[in-house]
C-alpha cells in the first residue's frame, strides 16, 4: 500500500483548484494523515492559472516532495505553465480533462511516459451531476477519493460546514459531483492500485500556514501592537492579527509605509507593550534605520522578514534565502542583532515565542527570518502544548530603583538594565538615538560610547549558549555533514533519510539561531567532519560565508547554493554529498566509510 502521495493539480482561475486542494488537505488531516500544501499562481492579479500541490503521508511530511505521484490537469496550457513546480515522471498517474482533445499517448510532456493516463470528462460529469461546471473541483475530489481512498467523507464533512449557510441544494449538488467522481474511479480501476494506507493512529491535528502561525504565536506571547505595511509574502501576518489582536487588547496599525510601521512599533515598545512588525526584503531595507534606533535605545522589538526572491521586486511570490546578510548586517554602527529562522509551520510558533522572549529579555530588536515557502504553505501539525512555554517580560525597575537616581542604562553585570515606561512615576528618562550615559543624557565622548557598545554586546552573550536553538539529526559520528536552515531544512532532513536508507552515514545540523554564530555548537558538530554541504536557496550561500568568516571550517565542507524558486530535491542533495565525499577521497584525504 502507498504511504506517501504527492498530488499536483492545475487549472485556470475559476476552476477552484486551490479550494479543492484546501478541502483535500483539511479532509486528510481529520483522517489522521500528515500533509503539506503549497500553492502557486500565475502573474495575473485575478483569474489566471493556479495550481497546488498536496503531499500526504502516514509519517510526518518534511517538505512538499518532488515528482508528482498524481498530476491533474484541467487544461494543458495552464498545467504546463507551472513547469518545474509540477514535475511529471515515469511513476506519475496523469488525470486530465478529456475535453482538451489530447490523446493519452500524445501528452504534451516530452520525454516522459507516465505510469498511467486517464482522460476524464470532468466538466461533463460536473454538469451532469451538479448542473454546473463549477463543480469540476468536487468531481476531482471524488476521483481522488475513488482511486486513492482519501478525502471522500472528510471532504463532504468540510463542505457541509462550508456550505451550511448556502442551503441544501448546493450541498446536494456537490454530493452528487463527488459521487460521480468516485464512481468513475471505481469503473476505471488503476492497473496498479495505489490506495493510501490508513494512519496507525488518528489524533487531532492543527492545520495552518506559517504566517497565521506567526500571528497566533505573537498573540500567545502577549504581543499588543503590530505596525506594518503590506508586502508579499508577509502580509497575512498583519491580516491575521487585524482579525484577532483586538480581542486581546491589542491593535494593528496599517501604516503609511514600512518606516512608520516599525516606528509605531518602536513607540509601542517604549510605551511598555510587546510590539511587532513584519515585512519582506524591500520593506526591511526601509526599516533599517529604525532598527538602529531600537538597538541603541534598547527597546524590545520583533521584526519578521519573510524572504522572497530579490533584489528589489525580484520574484515576489517565490521563496529564497538571500536576505540573511540583510537580517544580520544591515546596520549602521556596531550592532549585534539576533536572527532566528523557523524550519516549518509548527516551528514558526516556537521561533516566534522565542523571538518575543529574546527581545524582552535583552531589550533589543530580534529578527525572525522566515521564507515564502514556510509562510504560505499549509501544514498539519500535532497540537502544541502551550503550557511548556515560559513567557518573558522585560526587566522593570523595582520601586527602590525609581526616583531621581533612576538610571535607565545602568551598567549591570549582565548588561541588562531595568527599563521603565511612561506612566511609571520616577522612571522618567530620555530614550534617544544619540549615544547616552547611564542616565540617558546625551553624550559625545568616545569612552562612554565604547562602554555602552560593550554593554549592548555583552548582554547578548547568553544567546550563544542556547543549544536548544540547534537541531541535529543522524549519526553524530558520521564523517559526512549537511547544514541547512529555514525551509531547506525539511528537504535536508528527508535527504538524510534517503542517505541512511542507502547506507550512507550522514549527520545534519539545523541552526535556528543564524546570527550571532554560536561557535561552540558549530565546532562541536563539525569536529570529525571530512566532507559536507551547507545547502541554501540563494546564489551566494550566505550562511556558508558567514560561517567561514567566524569559524575554521573543515576543508571538505562546501556551499551548495542556488537561487530561489528552484526547490532542492532530497535525492540531488544526497548525490551531491557523495560527489563531495568522492572528491575528498581523490584529493588524498581519507574516504568516509559507506556501508
Amino acid at each position: 500500500m502507498t504511504t506517501d502521495l504527492v498530488i499536483g493539480m492545475a487549472g485556470s482561475g475559476g476552476d477552484g483548484i486551490v479550494s479543492a486542494g484546501e478541502s483535500l488537505i483539511a479532509a486528510v488531516a481529520t483522517e489522521g494523515y500528515h500533509a503539506m500544501m503549497t500553492k502557486s499562481f500565475g502573474s495575473q492579479i485575478r483569474g489566471g492559472e493556479s495550481s497546488c500541490r498536496v503531499r500526504l503521508s502516514t509519517e510526518p511530511v518534511l517538505n512538499p516532495g518532488g515528482t508528482l505521484d498524481v498530476a491533474i490537469a484541467l487544461n494543458w496550457e495552464d498545467f504546463l505553465k507551472f513547469g518545474g513546480e509540477l514535475p511529471v515522471g515515469g511513476n506519475t498517474i496523469v488525470i486530465y480533462e478529456s475535453k482538451t482533445g489530447v490523446a493519452p499517448d500524445k501528452l504534451p510532456l516530452p520525454g516522459v511516459t507516465p505510469a498511467e493516463v486517464f482522460p476524464v470528462p470532468i466538466a461533463d460529469m460536473a454538469k451532469e451531476s451538479a448542473k454546473t461546471d463549477k463543480a469540476k473541483n468536487t468531481v476531482i475530489l471524488g476521483l481522488i477519493a475513488g482511486w486513492f481512498g482519501i478525502g471522500g467523507d472528510g471532504v463532504m464533512k468540510g463542505l457541509r460546514k462550508k456550505l451550511a449557510k448556502k442551503g441544501p441544494e448546493l450541498l446536494e449538488a456537490n454530493e452528487r459531483a463527488l459521487a460521480a467522481g468516485r464512481k468513475y474511479a471505481q469503473d476505471h480501476p488503476l492497473k496498479t492500485p495505489r490506495v493510501m494506507e490508513r494512519p496507525k493512529t488518528v489524533s487531532p491535528k492543527l492545520l495552518t500556514d506559517g504566517n497565521d502561525m506567526c500571528g497566533a504565536a505573537a498573540i500567545f506571547s502577549g504581543c499588543q501592537f503590530f505596525g506594518g505595511y503590506p508586502i508579499t509574502p508577509s502580509t497575512e501576518i498583519m491580516q491575521f492579527l487585524s482579525r484577532e489582536i483586538w480581542k486581546y487588547g491589542g491593535s494593528v496599525l496599517q501604516a503609511e509605509d514600512e518606516i512608520a510601521g516599525i516606528g509605531a512599533a518602536v513607540g509601542a515598545s517604549f510605551a511598555g507593550k510587546k510590539a511587532m512588525t513584519a515585512t519582506s526584503g524591500p520593506g526591511m531595507s526601509l526599516k533599517t534605520e529604525m532598527l538602529g534606533l531600537a538597538t541603541i535605545a534598547e527597546l524590545p522589538l520583533v521584526l519578521v522578514n519573510v524572504q522572497r526572491g530579490g533584489p528589489s521586486t525580484g520574484l515576489p511570490t517565490k521563496t529564497e534565502q538571500a536576505d540573511l546578510y540583510q537580517a544580520a548586517f544591515s546596520a549602521h554602527g556596531d550592532v549585534l542583532r539576533p536572527v532566528l529562522a523557523p524550519t516549518c509551520v509548527a516551528d514558526t510558533f516556537e521561533i516566534t515565542v522565542e523571538a518575543f522572549n529574546m527581545a524582552e529579555m535583552y531589550q533589543t530588536p530580534v529578527v525572525i527570518l522566515s521564507d515564502q515557502e514556510i509562510s504560505q504553505r499549509k501544514e498539519t501539525c500535532d497540537p502544541i502544548d502551550t503550557s511548556k512555554f515560559r513567557l518573558v517580560d522585560r526587566l522593570r525597575p523595582a520601586n527602590s530603583e525609581l526616583g531621581t537616581h533612576y538610571a535607565r542604562y545602568r551598567f549591570t553585570e549582565s548588561g541588562i538594565s531595568p527599563i521603565s515606561e511612561p506612566g511609571m512615576p520616577g522612571g522618567n528618562y530620555l530614550a534617544a538615538g544619540i549615544e547616552h550615559n547611564e542616565k540617558g543624557a546625551p553624550i559625545s565622548g568616545g569612552i562612554m560610547h565604547a562602554k555602552m557598545n560593550e554593554k549592548r554586546f555583552r548582554k547578548l552573550n547568553p544567546i550563544r549558549t542556547r543549544r536548544d536553538l540547534f537541531q541535529t539529526y543522524g549519526d553524530p559520528n558520521a564523517p559526512l555533514a549537511l547544514i541547512a536552515w529555514g525551509s531547506v531544512a525539511g528537504v535536508a532532513r528527508e535527504a538524510l533519510r534517503v542517505a541512511e536508507r542507502k547506507g550512507v552515514k550522514v549527520k545534519l545540523l539545523v541552526p535556528r539561531l543564524l546570527y550571532p554564530i554560536a561557535e561552540e555548537f558549530f565546532n562541536d558538530f563539525l569536529s570529525g567532519v571530512q566532507a559536507g554541504l551547507v545547502v541554501e536557496q540563494s546564489h551566494q550561500g550566505q550562511l556558508y560565508h558567514i560561517m567561514k568568516m567566524v569559524l575554521d571550517l573543515p576543508k571538505g565542507l562546501k556551499s551548495y547554493a542556488r537561487s530561489g524558486a528552484n526547490p532542492f530535491q532530497p535525492a540531488e542533495i544526497v548525490r551531491r554529498l557523495r560527489e563531495q565525499a568522492q572528491a575528498m577521497h581523490q584529493s588524498g584525504d581519507s574516504m568516509p566509510q559507506e556501508e
Binding site: 501592537f225 513607540g267 509601542a268
Partner: protein, 296 residues
Amino acid sequence: MTLAMPAPVPTLQAKDFRSDLKPIWCPGCGDFGVVQAVYRALAAVGRPPHEIAFISGIGCSSRIPGYTTAYGFNSVHGRALPIAQGIKIAHPELLVLVAGGDGDGFSIGGGHVAHAVRRNIDLTYIVMDNQIYGLTKGQLSPTSPRGLKTVTSMYGSLEEPLNPLMYVLSYGAPFVAQGTPADLPGLTAMLEEAIRYPGFSFVNIQSPCVTYGEESGQIKAQKEKMKALADMKHDPTDRIKALSLAQDYGRELYTGVFFRDPNPPPTYDALVKARQAELSANALPRQNILDLFLQK
C-alpha cells in the same frame, strides 16, 4: 497600566517640567522661548511629568524633550510622528507631545504628517519653524523662501516654500495654530489649548535661528510684523477662512488659533479602545489560541 484621568495636580509649576540638562542651543535661539512656553503650558494643564511622553526627531529643535522632565524620546530624523502614534495607541492615557524642526516635519518626515492628521490621534504636534536647517549648519529647508541663498543654494533657492499651515489644514486637522516666542504669553496659552484639545492639534512656531536664520525672522522683526488673529476678529471655527488666512504664510505673521473644530471628530485612540472592548468578549483564552487551527 491605566492612569487615573486628569484629576490635575494643581501644585505643579513650570520648574517641575525643567530637567537639569543644559540646552546646547546657541544663545538667543528661539527654541529657548519655546521650551519656556512648554513648561508653563504643561504646568497649567497639570498632568505630572511621568504621565507625559514627549517625542521628537533630530535637529536643534528636536533636543527639546531632553530639557523637560517628561518621558522623552529623541528619535531619528523625521519619524517622531509614527513613534508618537505607536505610543498613544499602546498607552492612550498618556499625554503625548511631539516636536521637531521644519525639515524634520515637512521634508524627511513630510509623508507622515498627512497620515497622523487623517487618523486624528490625540496628540499635539509642535513644529519649530525656522525656515532653515540649524543642526546641520544652515542648509535650505522646505519652508525657506524662494531665492534664499544658503550653503546648499549658493545662487538662491529655485523652489517655492511648503506651507505647513495649509498642509495640515487641508488634510482636515481639527486644531491648527501659529505662535512665536516673541509673544511668550500668547504662545503659552495656545500650547495649553492645543494640549487640552481632544484630537490632533498642530502648532507652528516661528522660532528664529539666530545663527543661520534671516534677519526678517528674528524676534525683533517678528515683534513688528506679527498680527494676532484674535485682533483681526478671525472666527476660528471657520475652516475655509482659516485656509484663506493660511495662504499668507511666509508673507504675514498671524498668531493665534487658525482653526478649532467645535465638534471634535472621534480620535483614533478612542476608536481603538472601543474596538478592543467590543471584540474582547469573544476571545479564546490566549493559551488556547491554536484551537483556531484545530481540524475537527
